[in-house]
């Protein structure tokens, strides 16, 4: 046996060390964008799942809902930031939701101007963004506990995390389900219409969540940091 040939164990150790090094080197940056990537709003935290599963079946719907979610959540959390923390959580929940419902009116008008007929195609899932878990849960338990600028950065990441996922899922489901992209049919493209149904939405989002979890394990180095917590799905209120 050649002395220059490394044993498989030494190769694995070197790869593991490099993986850990990447995560450790970029940990601060990865933590700043965790809402977009490693702690993605939909794929890791499990928030606002209904909209992605039911209405994330076309790119147009996805872009419209992503835009509405971004505007509504961003402005609601920013406006309710001024609500004093001395008010009990029970009443803060009411205030957050009422502010969100009030802001929904201009947001729906703006979204309809940009994406025509989104209120028809999205149906009740557009107004259902009012009670999304980001506003009802995370705003009091996470965002409002931070200073304003870090809060905005964190909020933008969470909002983008949802938008990216719903757009990707919508694009994929429309392509495979209808053989079209934004309504433009691709000739002779094989389709599986079942992909447009809710059960496919659950399975597709579940598969993407598994992919993200695998990426997290790889970046952390398996066994190094332990995302192997059964409570890995973050508390919507954290």
């Amino acid at each position: 046996m050649s002395r220059n040939r490394r044993s498989p164990d030494k190769n694995n150790n070197k790869k593991r060390k490099n993986r850990r090094s990447f995560y450790q080197r970029h940990k601060k940056f990865l933590t700043q964008i965790e809402g977009l990537f490693l702690s993605n709003t939909v794929l890791e935290r499990g928030l606002v799942v209904a909209t992605v599963i039911i209405r994330g079946n076309s790119l147009k719907n996805a872009v419209g809902l992503g835009l509405a979610f971004a505007l509504l959540s961003f402005f609601t959390v920013c406006v309710t930031y001024v609500v004093p923390t001395t008010i009990p959580n029970n009443f803060r929940a009411i205030i957050n939701t009422l502010v969100s419902a009030g802001l929904f009116i201009p947001v729906a008008m703006i979204t309809n101007l940009i994406i025509t007929d989104i209120s028809v195609s999205a149906g009740i899932f557009l107004p259902l963004l009012i009670t999304n878990s980001l506003i009802v849960g995370l705003s009091s338990s996470r965002f409002h506990k931070k200073r304003f600028v870090p809060m905005m950065v964190d909020l933008i990441n969470h909002v983008l995390g949802f938008a990216v996922v719903i757009c990707f899922v919508g694009f994929l489901r429309e392509l495979v389900g209808r053989g079209s992209v934004w309504g433009a049919v691709i000739p002779n493209f094989p389709t599986i219409p079942a992909v447009l149904l809710p059960f496919s939405g659950f399975i597709i989002v579940g598969l993407f969540a598994a992919v993200l979890k695998k990426i997290r394990f790889r970046l952390a180095g398996e066994g190094e940091e332990n995302p192997e917590n059964p409570e890995n799905l973050k508390n919507p209120e954290n």
Partner: protein, 205 residues
């Protein structure tokens, strides 16, 4: 008296029929995915699924009753428009406050168990979704009550079915990348496919 009993029987059957349709054919979680995040949170926190379901059913029913009363006083509210969600959220907030007030008369032991769940049971997609669906379909008061009842019971049934397999889905039998949330979504998808069979429609491949 006989006429009254006929009247009551007819409307009780109508409520039951609408509720059964919503529980099986248009299940809150398996068909509409409403309240999925809430259900997953309740299951992970191992809070009483049935107690939470009962509170949520009460919130949807109570909110439906308030909507029916307001529609009787202000008929234009029955039209679904861009302002309806704000009105419905206001109604849910009133129902939430009334429930909190009502809890004052409940023994402390039960109150301490229920209070953490009331907030989540009020402000979630299932309750608001029930009101929005009723408004978009222009339902009459009896159908509205059946819808509210069916949405609540459907949510409870779906959450219970998911919670039954919780321990297995988080066990070491499941590959690491799928363990927990990812495989739970796949599991809900398979249950959703089973419920789709009740619609008696053929899947197109």
């Amino acid at each position: 008296m006989a006429d009254f009993m006929d009247f009551l029987t007819k409307y009780i059957f109508l409520v039951a029929a609408v509720a059964l349709h919503v529980i099986i054919i248009e299940n809150t979680i398996f068909t509409c995915a409403l309240g999925t995040s809430t259900a997953l949170f309740i299951i992970r926190k191992k809070r009483g699924v049935l107690v939470f379901g009962a509170i949520l059913t009460f919130m949807t029913l109570f909110s439906s009753f308030i909507v029916i009363i307001i529609n009787a006083l202000f008929p234009y509210l029955s039209d679904y428009n861009i302002y309806s969600p704000f009105i419905f959220v206001f109604i849910i907030s009133v129902a939430y406050l009334l429930v909190l007030l009502g809890l004052r008369f409940v023994p402390q032991k039960i109150k301490s168990r229920i209070i953490p769940m009331v907030h989540m049971s009020a402000f979630n997609c299932a309750v608001l979704g029930a009101l929005l669906i009723g408004a978009t379909r222009d339902m009459n008061p009896v159908e509205f009550i059946g819808l509210g009842l069916g949405m609540g019971i459907g949510f409870t049934l779906a959450t219970f079915l998911i919670s039954v397999s919780h321990d297995y889905l988080y066990s070491e039998n499941i590959p690491k990348a799928f363990r927990g949330y990812p495989v739970t979504l796949v599991y809900i998808g398979i249950l959703s496919l089973a419920f789709y069979g009740f619609i008696a429609s053929e899947l197109q491949f």
